[in-house]
Structures are given as structure tokens and as C-alpha cells.
């Protein structure tokens, strides 16, 4: 049995960058060379994402089961505050039926917060445990994997198409796609208006593609960037401790503590922002231009 690479094993500059590169390797079903390959799975991301999903559902289900309209316990109070916060935000941002959207926002907030919170575990714990089970690559933080964040952003994009078509009808949606944001010329017998309509249509469609694409890209990128950077800084801090000098260990303790405390904020803030953006995009799908 071979143990995973620890920061303390690194000998010098080269060893440390190898340590970080090793920690950034996913447990993939096979080695990926292309940017996109639909035949590959990241088992670590999937495992921890599903684990967090199960925990989030368990957490919420426990509160839902015990929910009484009488005097609530502390746990119920906390969950209710969360539910009410989400409900209020959803109500403020989406003007339409919230039967699916509000629960989705709640679940995405709790799920993302749980996934982000894995980042607070010391960076070598889970990989070391995995290494003991003969698994040599493990990135336990699902939100530092673009697949997760883009997966969620893609879900939001699909939902915003769905709601757009549901609210405005397919015709309304296509009209909006071709006629907003620049508007459309009135088509008459004059052939010039036909050319104008085509040009404006192309411009509008182009703008909409940029809007939807950019929105989804930034939605996924924002969470990924924050968590990836946070994870990377934890690796660097682990490297300080791995230097095994008094100064290095002292700095490891100080910076590690400071970053972990700061990261609690980031974990919740990024989950909140992700939820708010989800609601904002779904709210836009409900709005008429």
C-alpha cells in the first residue's frame, strides 16, 4: 500500500509543485486529454457531490419532518430562518409561481454550502484516507471542479429556457430571442426593410447568445474560481507546514487559521451568491422585455 503524497514529503521546489499538481488531479475514469470528453467521469466529484446532496436533503428533511406550527426548537428555528430567507428572496426576484423555484433555490444554497464546506477539512485528510484505500488521486471539493459549477449553471440555463417558453410561449420566446435588445424594423414592401430586419435579427440573436452564454459561464466560473483559489491557498499553506521548519509550521498555523476563518465566510457567501444568481436568472426568464 502506498500512501498519498504529503506536503512534508516534498523535497524542495520541485517536490512541492509536484505535491500541488498531485492534489489537483481528479479521480477520473480515465486520463483526459481533450477539454471536453463525454466518456469520462470524475468519481471523486460525483461521490462527494452526491454525499453532500444526501446530507443536505437529510438535514432539510429532518427539519421538515419535525416541523410544527407550535413553538419551534432551535434546529427548526434555524432551518425555518433559512427557508424564510430563501422564500423572501425568491418572492422578490421571481414574479411568478415559485412551487419549484423556491425549493430549488433552498436546495442549491444548502447543497453548495455543504460542498464548499469540504474545503474547510485539512487538505490532506481525505486524500490520505483514500490513499490508504489504494486510491491515489482525490479532489474532495466538488465545487472546485468546473463540471459541478458548470453543471449547475447549465441546469439554471435549461430552467430559464423552460420558464421563458412556459411563460411567454415558444413564439414569445423566439420573438424575444430575435427582437431584443435592439428591437426590429417594421417590414414593408421596401426591400431595404428586409435587409434591416435580417441584420437586426442577426445582431439580436448574437447578443442573446452572448447574454445567455456569458451569464451561464460567469455563473459557473464565479463559484469555481472562488473555491479553486481557496483550495489552492490551502495547498500553499499546507506547503508551509510541510517545510518542517519552526517558521514554516508557525506560519502554517497562523495563516491556516486566518484563511480557514475567512473561508467560512466565503463558503457561505459563495453559496448565497450562487443561489441569488440562480433566482435572478430564473426571474429574468419570467420578465417580459
Amino acid at each position: 500500500m502506498r500512501l498519498g503524497l504529503m506536503a512534508s514529503e516534498s523535497g524542495g521546489e520541485h517536490g512541492f509543485s509536484e505535491y500541488i499538481a498531485h492534489h489537483l488531479q481528479h479521480l477520473a475514469s480515465k486520463k483526459q486529454t481533450a477539454l471536453f470528453d463525454a466518456s469520462i467521469y470524475h468519481w471523486d466529484t460525483l461521490f462527494f457531490a452526491l454525499l453532500c446532496a444526501a446530507l443536505a436533503l437529510l438535514f432539510l428533511r429532518k427539519a421538515a419532518k419535525r416541523a410544527t406550527s407550535g413553538v419551534p426548537g432551535k434546529f427548526q428555528c434555524a432551518v425555518e430562518m433559512l427557508v424564510e430567507m430563501v422564500n423572501e428572496q425568491a418572492r422578490a426576484m421571481v414574479h411568478g409561481k415559485l412551487t419549484y423555484i423556491a425549493p430549488l433555490a433552498l436546495t442549491v444554497f444548502v447543497w453548495v454550502a455543504f460542498m464548499n464546506a469540504i474545503d474547510l477539512l485539512p487538505v490532506d485528510w481525505l486524500p490520505s484516507i483514500a490513499a490508504a484505500a489504494d486510491i491515489h488521486y482525490l479532489r474532495p471539493l466538488p465545487t472546485a471542479d468546473l463540471n459541478t459549477t458548470f453543471g449547475l449553471a447549465l441546469g439554471v440555463l435549461l430552467l430559464s429556457f423552460y420558464y421563458s417558453i412556459k411563460i411567454k410561449g415558444l413564439g414569445g420566446f423566439l420573438h424575444e430571442f430575435t427582437c431584443a435588445p435592439f428591437g426590429m424594423v417594421k417590414i414593408s414592401l421596401n426591400p431595404l426593410t428586409w435587409i434591416g430586419a435580417i441584420l437586426l435579427g442577426i445582431a439580436n440573436v448574437g447578443m442573446n447568445i452572448v447574454e445567455y452564454g456569458g451569464r451561464t459561464f460567469s455563473h459557473g466560473m464565479r463559484l469555481f474560481g472562488n473555491m479553486y483559489a481557496g483550495e489552492l491557498i490551502f495547498f500553499l499553506i499546507a506547503g508551509l507546514g510541510g517545510s518542517l521548519t519552526v517558521f514554516g509550521i508557525a506560519m502554517h498555523l497562523v495563516t491556516g487559521t486566518a484563511w480557514a476563518i475567512f473561508h467560512i465566510l466565503i463558503v457561505l457567501l459563495q453559496a448565497f451568491i450562487f443561489m441569488m444568481l440562480t433566482l435572478a436568472y430564473l426571474g429574468q426568464a419570467h420578465a417580459h422585455h
Binding site: 477539454l35 470524475h42 406550527s69 453543471g151 447549465l154
Partner: protein
């Protein structure tokens, strides 16, 4: 930066999580919250109502107490007046009775005096006759000197 099938699985997981939450988590929580909000609203409303009715009851009680006080004063006044009347009546009755007793006693005394005089006059007449007969040494015919005796008796009666 490796994008792969994980992405689509995460999308599906995301949508399913939303569905599960919608089905099993959101409704009981939001129902409990709304139910409690309703209860609190009702509680506040009924508290307000209770306060209002308490104030009303206070006002009514004050009214009753005021009325009772007025009535009590009236009753006390009446009782005072009545007791004065009774005292006056009793005093009048006692006075009348006293006067009556006094006059009765006076009449009795007068009657008794006149009766004693009559008796005395009779006895004096008899004594006078007896004394005179003894002085004269013979029987005096009372009938013969009746006029003198009667005169004497009248003198005594006059007194």
C-alpha cells in the same frame, strides 16, 4: 480544466434535488411557518380584543361602583332622616305620656284630697257632737242641731 460527463450528471442531480425539495421538504416547512404566522396573528388579534374588553369591563365596573355609591349615599340620607323622625316621634310620645301621667296623678291627688276632706268633715262632725254631748252631759239630738253640724262640716270642707 477537464469538462466531461460529470457535468451532465451534476445538472441532473441539481434538477432532481430541486424536485425532491419541492416534494418532501418545502411544503411541511412552509406550511408550519405559515400556520405559525397565522396563529401569532390570531393571538395578537385576540390579545387586542381581550385588552379592549378588559377596558370596557373596567369602565362598566366603574359605572356600577359610582351608581352604588350614589345609591348608598341616598340610603344613608334616608336612614338618617328616618332615624331623626323616629327619635322625634319617640320624644313626642314620651312627652305626651309624661304629661298624661302627671295630669292623671294630679287628678288622683285632687280626688284623694277631696275624699279625705269629706271623710274628715264627717268625722269632725261626729267628734263635735260627741264632745258637745259629753260637755252638756246629755244626749244631743243630732237631728235638732243638724244645721250647726252641716255648717261646721262645710267650714271644714272649705278648709
Amino acid at each position: 480544466m477537464n469538462l466531461n460527463a460529470t457535468l451532465f450528471i451534476q445538472t441532473i442531480v441539481f434538477l432532481i434535488l430541486g424536485w425532491v425539495t419541492m416534494k418532501f421538504i418545502w411544503p411541511p416547512l412552509i406550511a408550519a411557518i405559515e400556520e405559525r404566522q397565522r396563529k401569532i396573528a390570531e393571538g395578537l388579534a385576540s390579545a387586542e380584543k381581550g385588552e379592549k374588553s378588559l377596558a370596557e369591563a373596567h369602565a362598566a365596573a366603574n359605572e356600577i361602583v359610582k351608581e352604588a355609591r350614589v345609591q348608598a349615599t341616598k340610603i344613608i340620607d334616608q336612614a338618617n332622616r328616618r332615624s331623626n323622625e323616629i327619635v322625634e316621634e319617640a320624644r313626642g310620645a314620651a312627652l305626651a305620656e309624661g304629661q298624661r301621667l302627671i295630669s292623671e296623678a294630679r287628678e288622683e291627688v285632687a280626688l284623694e284630697t277631696s275624699r279625705a276632706r269629706q271623710q274628715l268633715s264627717k268625722e269632725v262632725a261626729a267628734l263635735a257632737v260627741a264632745g258637745a254631748s259629753r260637755l252638756l252631759g246629755r244626749e244631743i239630738d243630732a237631728k235638732a242641731h243638724a244645721d250647726i253640724l252641716e255648717q261646721l262640716a262645710a267650714e271644714i270642707e272649705r278648709g
